[in-house]
Symmetry: C2
Subunit: 478 residues, 2 copies
């Protein structure tokens, strides 16, 4: 459990300084102001200032040097090489089957595995007891209700809460624009099916979450993969070119923290993306499942918030933030509302009642926001720690993503290191990872892996990353 | 709540006599043996015999005539006209959109509606408190578990329970042959997608559950509708003919209590059905969602129990028996296991964890069986009562199904009575029904309606059926 420490003075101070480090106000090697100076500047006690500095030290942001004070640590993100933009084929691809996918998911279910594979939040971090208490209270209050169908568009209390939250990301969704779903995956499926048919071409990001690629394949559609800038996301010039060249039925994007890159598309790009698709009346399916897990101070906007035509279909869920096992997601399908509603009826009829009621209650009573504040900081720190371990133990030339949110790292190994071989070797040692070829329609990214950094840092995690680094070195022939 | 009265002496005696009435041992108008004689014959007290007779009277099976004793009542099912076999077109149909479907479902969600529409069990009849207590206990015991993914094939405890139960219906499914799903609807969807592609032809029963027809339409497939005998189900000679005439990708059948007819296919027909499809290597998608709700003494076998080739894909759920809002179903897809498993990953990733655990526990501790014994009797009685009311208040010439299980009646109105008009007029009076055209790909059954008989009998129900009868009379021009 993440402890809720909001309101504690030293935590606020630590966050302020951390932001200055992030923004470059303090650079690697800089000496932080003395404790005494800090006390005066911020009007806090010496004890508070000391606690703030120790917090920053625990997070690996600063180090104490005996008799000299606290210094900003040199961080892997200042030195480890970053990815270049991806360069997928500009041709339309018929998707290759992903036989490895089941293996990755099934490994994730094993209790004894080191879970760097599937992008699941760790159960140790989720607000299990709080949410469970709410769920049980809701159920005890009205056992009949949780037993009966919650017919689409789904739980009104939950849709109202999503509507309120949508103000945070620049939208003002109405409850009756929203349909609840069995996780984000059902939402994406319904959207794809609503606007495209077998044989059609979907423009997707490259790399893209493999579940979505596999879903498009199973629907008998094809894709064209759009290059990704490692920080700004989808290359819009490349998209423009693809739109000119091919008859594209829909575009699917994760503007906020693409999985696996973790990058966040700048607002002006989101606006441009929505505009260029609207001009051609092409729907945008926006996956915002990671949107609430930003490391920066403010919740990034959705592309949907720039939508004036009802062409953006916004999908999300509480899978990455609250409860994967609850299977509660939602979609705001814009002008395709009726189509998606009908597909929802035929796909699963209704979304489980009880979990919707429980999450609605958790959102309403403020628990979700409190929880998010803690968990965002936690994931930001995890990414730092994992990144540092990788940059220390992996082969020279390993490139690393710079996630701005979420909890995964995208790791580029030396060209000669085969990610599938690494996956198999790691699994033998009970370490789960996700090999790069899954993130491409044509099995590209052969020397890439995705690491999920959700499991709280421990000696065991540290050892596993070191083992992984050794394996990667052994498999790198150059 | 159905009271568990098993083991009570008078209930056993009443059931014995009821079975004799059902089997024709006692006929309409027969006088039952005197109380004294019954006491001697069965070795029970006068009070017990009296209670048994009163129970039978309450169920509408017998009537007391002053100073003469108890007599078997004349029943509507002995007199009301029955349906003839359906005669759908033998051509391949492109399915017409079902714009009414959403209306029927949404009406079902309203609290003030008389619920003869959607085929939902009544919340007043479900074992809400028991199941809810189990669910809360399971959740309290391990809150983390219910929060985390339950990766396909899904909850092992539940799969083990389904495996044990499968012996009752002539199967011996292994837990690792089963995949859990979000209700039966997801199971059916995955099966259809696993064995057919857009443009393909599916052979379905006529009439068939509209959700499945709509699902096939949304998947871009076509159907050929096979005639149904009102008691024996699918006309296998007609199916044979269709198989010869058309290239059929799969056959979809509800051998046990087709919705809306409620008929049960005899075992020899099930065997023949499986054999004739196996000869052509055509998969059979078997929907057994109503299988546990038989009125006869024994659980009917599944077609799957005759399957030797792994070509039968058995789908079911706990929606009609236990908890629609839990959304827990399952599929045993035979040789298509891997295909269905992959589709499950891409469709909804996983099934909600908590409800699977709760149902598994309910099955394991015997609660489900105890509940089923009560609810089967309840539905059998409900069908009797509804049938009687319909045969009394509906226009002359109204035909009625003779359900052998489930909780719906299929009602044929005079030719001139338009079911959609009746639906609209009924809805204005807050009565939900399902119009017949929904049960056909080409909007046939224009003068049929389906009545859900799940809501416990009351003055209000009685009045609503009478109002419905009056409306039907008014809309019948001949």
């Amino acid at each position: 459990m993440i402890q809720d420490t909001t309101g504690l003075l030293y935590e606020n101070l630590a966050s302020q300084i951390a932001r200055m480090i992030d923004s470059g106000g303090f650079k690697s090697g800089d000496r932080l102001p003395s404790l005494r100076k800090t006390c005066v500047q911020h009007g806090v006690s010496t004890a508070t200032a000391m606690q703030a500095y120790m917090t920053l030290e625990n997070r690996g942001l600063v180090e104490a040097r005996p008799k000299s004070g606290f210094f900003v640590r040199s961080r892997w993100s200042d030195t480890a090489p970053e990815h270049r933009s991806s360069k997928p084929s500009t041709k339309v691809s018929t998707i290759k089957a992903k036989s490895l996918m089941g293996k990755v998911f099934q490994a994730a279910g094993k209790p004894d595995i080191i879970p760097f594979g599937a992008a699941c939040p760790s159960a140790d971090v989720l607000p299990a007891e709080k949410l469970s208490l709410i769920l049980r209270t809701v159920d005890r209050r009205n056992a009949k209700r949780s037993l009966t169908y919650d017919m689409p568009p789904g739980c009104e209390a939950l849709r109202r809460q999503v509507s309120i939250r949508s103000l945070d990301w620049g939208d003002h969704l109405q409850p009756d624009e929203i349909i609840t779903t069995v996780g984000c995956m059902e939402a994406l499926n319904l959207c794809i099916r609503a606007v495209a048919k077998p044989g059609d071409i979907i423009a997707i990001e490259s790399p893209s979450y493999f579940g979505v690629i596999e879903s498009i394949r199973e629907l008998g559609m094809r894709v064209v993969e759009i290059p990704m800038h490692p920080r700004d996301g989808m290359d819009l010039n490349a998209l423009e070119e693809a739109l000119t060249k091919h008859k594209i039925a829909a575009c699917l994007s994760v503007p906020n923290f693409n999985n696996p890159l973790g990058c966040c598309m700048p607002d002006e790009n989101k606006k441009r993306l929505v505009g260029m698709l609207a001009k051609r009346k092409i729907p945008l399916i926006e996956d915002d499942i990671y949107g609430d897990l930003h490391f920066g101070p403010s919740r990034p906007r959705t592309a949907k918030s720039f939508d004036r035509e009802g062409l953006v279909m916004l999908c999300s869920s509480f899978t990455k933030t609250l409860a994967p096992g609850y299977r509660v997601g939602w979609v705001a399908p814009g002008r395709f509302y009726e189509r998606v509603l009908n597909l929802k009826f035929t796909n699963t009829v209704a979304t489980p009642t009880l979990q919707q009621l429980a999450i609605a209650e958790f959102l309403k009573n403020g628990g979700y926001d409190r929880y998010l504040r803690g968990v965002r900081r936690f994931y930001a720190e995890q990414i730092q720690r994992f990144g540092e371990a990788v940059s220390q133990s992996f082969p020279a030339g390993t490139t690393l993503s710079r996630p701005a949110g979420g909890f995964v790292l995208w790791v580029g190994l030396p060209k000669s290191c085969d990610a599938v071989e690494l996956h198999d070797a790691a699994l033998e040692r009970n370490i789960g990872i996700t090999p790069g070829p899954l993130f491409s329609a044509t099995h590209g990214y052969k020397n890439f892996i995705r690491l999920t950094c959700a499991q709280p840092w421990s000696k065991q995690i540290e050892r596993a990353l070191s083992v992984l680094g050794d394996l990667a070195k052994r498999l790198s022939k150059d």
